[in-house]
């Protein structure tokens, strides 16, 4: 079952590898890659939801896979001159050279089953989808664009939380984005939050939990503190399925758990009724 999978696997493994055949991360079955892709990267055998890139996600929810990227020129800088095992500035440069141009958030405008909307999807392969100043600014501008054009807003979260390398500035993005969402709330524009594996830390504790509707993907890890931190705090192992979408649904934190194949249709139905 999906949630037995270790969550601390490096990103490299979580991406669907090149080649014609791939191994399902849930059931280890060898799958034909084309078939997996046609099924939106959900295993046809066990239903495991493989992580997808922000761009793949946007192509999946927008009509005919067509959308226009917004605020793509905003990128992280290194205001703290942060150095751990490598300088942060160097990490950013390397990511940019590899072709990451949108930081950890891709914002797109398009139609979802005919409904005009702005969708912001987080990019896990960019430093674990972590939220720094660039993510905060792009998210805020996306919300401001929704306010200006009276559009509904959808966020697809996939993030370990605030980006440590930008310190307190990352923390403040939680307040910045939430303050922008307060305006969207007051303007009575719909906001749907989709939480995918993983959504933790400052992302969960700000915009990801503030949807008019919160939708989880099956088996996604969703929480404030990470499972290891909790285990260290309470000094016992966590129950099976703890902090997974189904657990959050049961505890009243999500409105629904929706398989990826039904997400687009679901978003459209909800937005049509709210917008």
């Amino acid at each position: 079952m999906a949630w037995f999978r270790r969550t601390d696997e490096p990103t490299r493994k979580s991406r669907v590898p090149e080649g014609l055949w791939v191994k399902c991360e849930g059931c280890r079955e060898i799958l034909y890659k084309k078939e997996l892709e046609r099924g939106l990267f959900v295993c046809p055998r066990c239903g495991f939801h493989h992580r997808v890139s922000a761009r793949t996600r946007l192509a999946q929810v927008f009509d005919d896979g067509r959308w226009k990227e917004l605020f793509a020129r905003i990128f992280s800088t290194d205001p703290l001159e942060f150095v751990d095992s490598k300088p942060y500035a160097e990490r950013l440069r390397a990511l940019r050279e590899k072709g990451s141009r949108s930081d950890a958030l891709v914002v797109g405008a398009g139609r979802i089953s005919g409904v005009k909307a702005i969708v912001a999807a987080m990019e896990y392969s960019f430093m674990g989808g972590s939220m720094g100043s660039a993510v905060g600014e792009k998210m805020t501008r996306a919300i401001e664009q929704c306010l200006k054009s009276r559009l509904p807003f959808v966020v697809v979260s996939c993030s370990g939380g605030a980006r440590m390398q930008e310190g307190i500035l990352s923390l403040m993005q939680m307040a910045k984005i939430s303050a922008a969402l307060a305006q969207l709330h007051a303007a009575r524009l719909p906001y749907i939050s989709v939480l995918t594996d993983p959504t933790t830390g400052g992302v969960t504790a700000s915009f990801a939990m503030l949807g008019d509707l919160n939708i989880g993907e099956p088996g996604a890890l969703i929480g404030f503190a990470g499972p290891r931190v909790i285990e260290q705090t309470i000094r016992q192992t966590l129950p099976e399925g703890f902090q997974r979408s189904e657990f959050l649904l049961e505890h009243g934190m999500l409105d629904m758990v929706v398989p990826r194949q039904e997400l687009k249709e679901n978003l459209a139905r909800c937005l049509q009724m709210l917008a």
Binding site: D84, G136, S178, A205
Partner: protein, 315 residues
């Protein structure tokens, strides 16, 4: 957690403090007391002149620093503490209530740490659960209903990372506070008095004026947590503390806080009464400035304030 209340680098000062207290109690000659006091001042001045960021973290956690209820008792009258989130329970890690400052009624929320072992356990070391944040929000909404300003004291290692807290929606409770505080139509003044521990601090930290004690710290993650994740080595806390830029000077420079409140020589715990008076003066000044603003302007200005936070490139 907190079994050694006084960090080693403070030992010389603590020793002098003790000798001074004994001398005063034992009726030593005035000259001896004056000599010890001068020695203590010199030592405190020398020490605080070049504190490392990690030492500041330890100072910010000093168990004798004034906590929220010390500020409440020292500055306000008619304190009425309220309890409970009306959903699940009452969280002693956050105190909330009403009181008067110079006769004017205000709402107060804040983290509460304990001083002795029993009280620290009772207060869960100042780490709130969701019901604490929900209690704080309830009182803030009450303040808005009756047009009273909110004063928030921030001093927490972080939101409690426990199983029960997760089950009851720690993330949702913090997130909701961020959004609701941003929209609150009464003035909010925040004072970071000790530890500003990540989302658990920010959940009562959105305001119109953010004040910070000189030796307080405010960070996205504790140096311990950061060292464990980025260096995979607990002994790197010093480096992590420096890298995170978590001191009051750093935060002022980065445009996060509005004002640094100077502390007594050697830190707030050396002269709590003086520290409390300093905070009182700053609160009065901040409130009188905010009272002049129109209610409906407050959320707009607050959004603009947080909107401006962050550094990025745009090419």
């Amino acid at each position: 957690m907190g079994s050694t209340p006084v960090p080693p680098f403070l030992a010389p000062i603590e020793d002098l403090r003790q000798r001074l207290a004994e001398a005063e109690r034992g009726g030593e000659g005035r000259a001896e007391i004056a000599r010890l006091r001068t020695q203590l001042d010199d030592e405190a001045r020398r020490l605080t002149a070049d504190l490392t960021p990690w030492q500041r973290c330890l100072l910010a956690r000093h168990f004798e620093r004034p906590h929220t209820l010390d500020y409440v008792r020292g500055l306000f009258t008619d304190w009425v503490e309220v309890h409970g989130d009306r959903c699940f329970g009452d969280d002693p890690a956050i105190v909330a209530g009403l009181a008067r400052l110079d006769g004017e009624s205000v709402a107060i929320v804040g983290h509460q740490k304990g001083r002795d072992t029993r009280e620290r356990l009772y207060r869960n070391f100042g780490q709130p659960r969701p019901e604490g944040y929900r209690k704080a929000l309830r009182v803030m909404h009450m303040a808005e209903k009756f047009g009273r300003p909110v004063i928030s004291f921030v001093d927490t290692p972080g939101a409690y990372p426990g199983l029960d807290a997760e089950e009851r929606g720690q993330a949702e409770a913090i997130a909701r506070n961020l959004r609701e505080m941003a929209a609150l139509e009464v003035p909010i003044v925040v004072v970071v008095t000790g530890e500003g521990g990540s989302g658990g601090a920010l959940a009562v930290g959105v305001g119109d004026r953010i004040l910070m004690m000189e030796h307080a710290v405010y960070s996205v993650i504790s140096p311990e947590g950061c060292a464990a994740i980025l260096w995979k080595d607990q002994s790197e806390v010093q480096r992590a503390a420096a890298a995170l830029r978590l001191t009051s000077n750093d935060l002022l420079r980065l445009g996060i806080i509005d004002e640094i409140l100077p502390e007594p020589l050697g830190g707030a715990h050396m002269d709590p009464a003086l520290a409390i008076r300093t905070v009182g003066g700053a609160l009065r000044k901040a409130l009188s400035g905010l009272r002049r603003l129109k209610r409906t302007d407050l959320p707009r200005r607050r959004f603009a304030k947080f909107r401006a936070m962050g550094y990025f490139s745009e090419r």
